[in-house]
Amino acid sequence: MRIAFAGNPNSGKTTMYNALTGENERVGNWAGVTIGKKESPIKKEFYDFVEEIIAVDLPGAYSMSPFTPEEGITSGYVRDENPDAIINIVDATNLSRSLFFTTQLLELGIPVVVALNKSDINEKQNTEIDTEALSKKLNCPIIKTVSTSSDKTGLKEAVNAAVELNGNGQKAPYLQADIDLHDKKAVEAEDRKRFDFVNKIVKEVETRKVLTKERNSQDKVDSVLTNKVAGILIFAAVMWAVFWISQSKVGPLIADWLVGWIETFQGWVSGLLENSSPLLQAILADGIVGGVGAVVGFLPLVMVMYFLIALLEDCGYMARVSVVMDPIFKRVGLSGKSIIPIIIGTGCGIPGIMASRTIRDERERRATAMLTTFIPCGAKIPVIALFAGAFFSGASWVNALMYFVGILLIFLGALLIKGITGYKYRKSFFIMELPSYKLPSLKRACFSMLERAKAYIIKAATIILVCNCVVQLMQTFNWKFQVVGEDAADTSILASIASPFAVLLVPLGFGAWQLAAAAITGFIAKENVVGTLAVVYSITRFIDTDELALTGGANEVAVTMGLTTVTALAYLMFNLFTPPCFAAIGAMNSEMKSAKWLWGAIGLQLGTGYTVAFLVYQFGTLFTEGHLGNAFIPGLIAVLIMAAIVVVISRRSRQKFDVEYSLHNKGTGASV
């Protein structure tokens, strides 16, 4: 049997789903975290029957008529897919709004069980709900639940109640009159009656000591966090703290321990291979163990960051950030809703891009999906950490700086998109529910962190391992499959493939084929940049075991790569702000649903990465050495060509709009 979980946004559907199924779907304390349907069997301990029960988690909705795209999934599913029962999760602290949707669900004829979730908060506020009276009025069982509690209060009762009703129909307490659904006035009149019905019930079953409209202590916190100046400073400080803790304090501490193990393992492997061919030694010990080890060494930094982001998502701060950012984002044609994909994108770009689905306006949604990956994701952390350690003595500000440069690029990119898509400034509305703050769950954060660690290790052991082997082989052999000598490294397969690309990068200050090769493998997975650098330069000790500092032989790394501080920064930024990995490009494709937009996105990202690196290198060199860098003119020409393309495209699209508009006029003229 299948049980659908439906209810208002942020009523706790996914938390209950996770508790019942043992799954680990994303939860967060704001409206619109779940963006797609999820299914999984409920654990046996939560029901007393033999048959398997599948739970179906759905995105939140306020009513059966959808407002944003993901809300449509919910009404579509309960209406068309005939689940055997519905558990309607109701936020017990907002009964007066939630029951509107409940009465709609009760009309479908599918048995409904109402789970009065967050009942613990009601107890704290001395709000009482007479569940027996409510159950009689709605003709369905009402179970008080607290999904976040350790004993899973009420969950078993709710599932069992749903199973018992299986096969029964549902008698609706309120039936909408038979009206023409295209008649807006009639529909509104009916909806009013429905709300009147709900209001009457709420008045009878609920006793409140604290009225919601009264200003409470949370509102005082809100007034600081959403203040136009303080709010932005606090947001900056919070994000800086996330990076400082994960990249400079706790992360490296654990990384140090881990790298010790990796080095021991590498030594052990080298020992085993002592008598075998030097080639095999190179491939196994340096290529596979060294390259993958270099990437895995940064895992703790990513884990700690995930832990902190999970805490942020859970406490209710995200909704406030989007409020404070809304006026700023509006100026560039986005809205506060775009900040949520961006923060999620700090962990991984793919869920970040998918989170853009909650944005209602299509242009805004596509623009957000296009720009989200300018925020350095978890996979780029190793790259940043490596360069911060080697060239900026492990400074934690490098990561925070890259984050804020990312936000700046999102602004500029959004402005550009606004310019290109042009004229039609459709009025975008912003409305965001402000959920109550809550103490974030450490258990959840740990789960989120471990889940990420698992994914990271799997990636390292598969994609990155394979890439490193391929890179190692391509570097070892030339096209005639002869082993290249140390003095003839430039004749290897890898060198001959990467060299033409390296030429293009000369105006950016890093024309070495090794660096070009690393940047290219970065498109498969960004961690590959670190892995490939480790392989091509045979460096593996990126994290010092003695000093707890990132990269022990910082100078050694810097010298081997032949980069100055300025070129290193240019190279780092090039890798961060070029197109993301292929998986993220795939996610962009599925969210944008338009080849034109997808290619536009890739072009924009390539152009941005190139231009940013060009500017950093040329002006950086000018400031530090008093003269422009190499190949300024060719680089400038390349950048100008890109700018010209943007101008041409935006002109064209504007003209097209004009033509469309005039055609439209002609069309209506002709028909009259």
Partner: protein, 71 residues
Amino acid sequence: MNLNDANVGETYIVEDIETDDEELKAFLFSLGCYSGEPVTVISHLKGGCTVSIKDGRYNIDNGIASAVLIK
């Protein structure tokens, strides 16, 4: 007057939602923001305000606030 002109902490009654955007109107309706219902402004911010509708708190921008006519 509309929500932008409302005094903080005072409860008003919604008179009308003035917008061509039918979906937005329906959405506000599903939250309980429609003519005849009470609404309270908790605070005014740059670019919008925080309001209490039924038992929920929402932040809305000036665009929506000016569409909610109150008395």
